[in-house]
């Protein structure tokens, strides 16, 4: 259907498109292996002796930040999952007319919450966390992150939960399995693909979140990597090589996930992304 010359044009155009996305990434990585001097004199130099000094410095100074990021991202991912999986399962079961109405209202609320811009939540959350004595604590930041990511996690999981045939639930009920039992041994295993997608997305988002981090953690405490990156960015005498090394470290979890489960991640995202 598509003629041969057109196919060739497409391949070329696809390559151009790919380069438009690959080149900036390449430049981050290249710059992170340069010395400060090399970046200043020749920002576009491709041939140079790569050095790991920048990484050694950044990791040496920022090991605390990396540990903080890990704590935040793991806690946020686990708790979000614990709350989102049952919620998504419940929102996919049409058990009665009244419940259908609850589902509709809740879904609309989730959509609205997802649309609220983050600068709009950071202002009131600042005072809410302050009055509950959570401001300046990791716990407060973690709770704020969960509230930010939970609506998205539930919406992403729900299509997977909807795909479970209700006949399976009826069979489980006939076998005398209780709600909890059904959830544990039927719903959760069947949701494993969706859960994997959500784990990836929530972990990456929590790892990269910086707006809450720089406002809710006190000055002087160890910021997560993303917060450190945001902070370094605002100093005027930017050391680009350290900045880019930090950027590479900030994207490491995503890179790892991509290497491990790129296909499933893209498929899962395509399913849940439109909502």
């Amino acid at each position: 259907m598509i003629s041969r010359p057109l196919r060739t044009t497409f391949r070329v155009l696809a390559l151009v498109l790919g380069l438009a996305y690959l080149l900036p990434l390449l430049w981050i990585v290249l710059t992170s292996f340069k010395t400060k001097q090399q970046v200043l004199t020749e920002p576009n130099g491709i041939f140079f002796t790569p050095t790991l000094d920048t990484y050694a410095n950044v990791v040496g100074d920022g090991i605390g930040a990396i540990l903080t990021s890990l704590q935040i991202a793991i806690a946020v991912t686990l708790i979000t999952l614990l709350i989102a999986v049952p919620a998504a399962a419940a929102l996919a079961r049409r058990v009665s007319v009244g419940w259908n109405r609850v589902i509709t209202v809740f879904l609309a609320a989730l959509l609205v919450l997802q649309m609220v811009p983050q600068p709009m939540t950071v202002i009131p959350l600042y005072s809410v966390l302050a009055s509950w004595k959570l401001l300046g604590t990791l716990g407060g930041l973690i709770v704020a992150d969960i509230a930010l990511l939970l609506p998205f996690a539930i919406m992403l999981l729900r299509p997977f939960a909807l795909a479970i045939p209700s006949a399976l639930y009826e069979a489980a009920e006939l076998d005398g399995a209780g709600r909890w039992r059904t959830f544990r041994s039927l719903t959760v295993p069947l949701l494993s693909n969706g859960i994997l997608t959500v784990v990836c997305i929530v972990f990456i988002s929590a790892w990269g979140e910086f707006v809450y981090a720089i406002n809710f953690l006190p000055q002087g405490i160890v910021l997560p990597v993303s917060g450190l990156l945001a902070q370094q960015n605002s100093t005027y005498s930017a050391e680009w090589n350290s900045l880019m090394a930090l950027a590479v470290i900030t994207s490491l979890p995503l890179l790892l996930l991509f290497v491990v489960s790129q296909r499933r991640l893209i498929a899962g995202l395509s399913l849940g992304a439109v909502k």
């Binding site: 919620a87 419940a90 811009p117 600068p119 950071v122 809410v128 509230a147 988002s205 995503l254």
Partner: protein, 308 residues
């Protein structure tokens, strides 16, 4: 939880209200943790935001008594030119994003819907960039677009004068918009590509038999089929423009001067750099009104998709 189920199944004990009987048969308990957390840390803050906009709150009384001052903040904010300028900039960003997401999105999706290793790799790279934390891609572009950064030194090499991408008051807004468009395009390509693949093959083949060329078929036959998807994409794009904050924060922080203050950036800067919490809250609420206008058709569209 299981005791609740058996109780309900065991012939409805008297004295329980109709409501609790009704709820007993539903998976309500699975929803309670989500409701609790969102009520406390997502819905309640929005109520606080409204209270803040009706009070006089600064850094000294953020924890403590807020004096109620009615609509005074709104009068002040709406009579200031700054918010209207910010609204105009936000709309400008939205229009550029719409154009980019539709034109490049459709062409890109068409190109990438032809199978093969090249397209698969390109798609993977694009999705990777889309999933990258904005703080990372923002930092990268801050470096690339710096006055003495790689892009300017590349321009210099071919004899073009350097451009102040992020430090010129006239250009900065559009440079950042360009970055946002770049970062948002993969999503649009992914969504449109998904819809393209779902267009019935015989429809396209019939057009080809009639002698219509590729692009003619794409625009005349395929594009109209995508209308529902494009509708949702349009709303999401506008919402994205009204939400976009990270890239501005990383690259310009609203500057130079106030030339890249869009609504979310203005709200944030007012609250956290100017420490006028209640003015910031008021700007936030005004811009959420704009978001709400687009929210209604979006929720309708999503619900329509839900019903088979």
């Amino acid at each position: 939880m299981s005791s609740l189920v058996t109780e309900t199944d065991a012939g409805r004990p008297t004295g329980r209200s109709a409501l609790s009987r009704l709820l007993g048969r539903t998976p309500i308990w699975f929803l309670v943790p989500a409701i609790g957390l969102l009520a406390g840390f997502a819905v309640y803050p929005l109520i606080v935001l409204v209270r803040m906009s009706l009070s006089d709150v600064g850094p000294s009384n953020i924890v403590g008594e807020w004096s109620f001052i009615g609509l005074q903040n709104f009068v002040e904010v709406l009579s200031d030119d700054e918010i209207w300028l910010a609204l105009a900039r936000t709309i400008g960003v939205a229009l550029v994003l719409l154009a980019s997401n539709f034109v490049f999105g459709f062409v890109g999706a068409s190109i990438l819907s032809v199978g093969g290793r090249v397209t698969e790799t390109v798609l993977a790279v694009m999705v990777f960039v889309w999933a990258l934390p904005p703080i990372v891609s923002g930092s990268a572009f801050k470096f690339l677009l710096d006055d003495s950064g790689p892009i300017n030194s590349a321009l210099d090499a071919v004899g073009i004068a350097p451009v102040s991408w992020l430090s010129s008051p006239d250009l900065a807004l559009w440079s950042v918009t360009g970055i946002i468009a770049w970062a948002a395009l993969p999503f649009s390509v992914l969504v449109i590509r998904g819809a393209l693949m779902a267009v019935p093959v015989d429809l396209v083949e019939a057009a080809a038999l009639d002698g219509a060329g590729y692009w003619r078929t794409q625009f005349r036959i395929v594009l109209p089929q995508l209308r529902p998807t494009l509708g949702i994409l349009a709303i999401l794009t506008v919402l994205y423009a009204f939400k976009s904050f990270d890239f501005f924060y990383v690259t310009t922080k609203g500057g130079p001067g106030t030339t890249t203050n869009t609504l979310p950036v203005l709200a944030y800067n007012t609250a956290f750099s100017g420490f006028e919490m209640s003015t910031g809250a008021t700007i936030a609420l005004v811009s959420m009104l704009a978001v709400a206008i687009f929210a209604v058709p979006y929720i309708r569209a999503v619900r329509r998709e839900e019903q088979p």
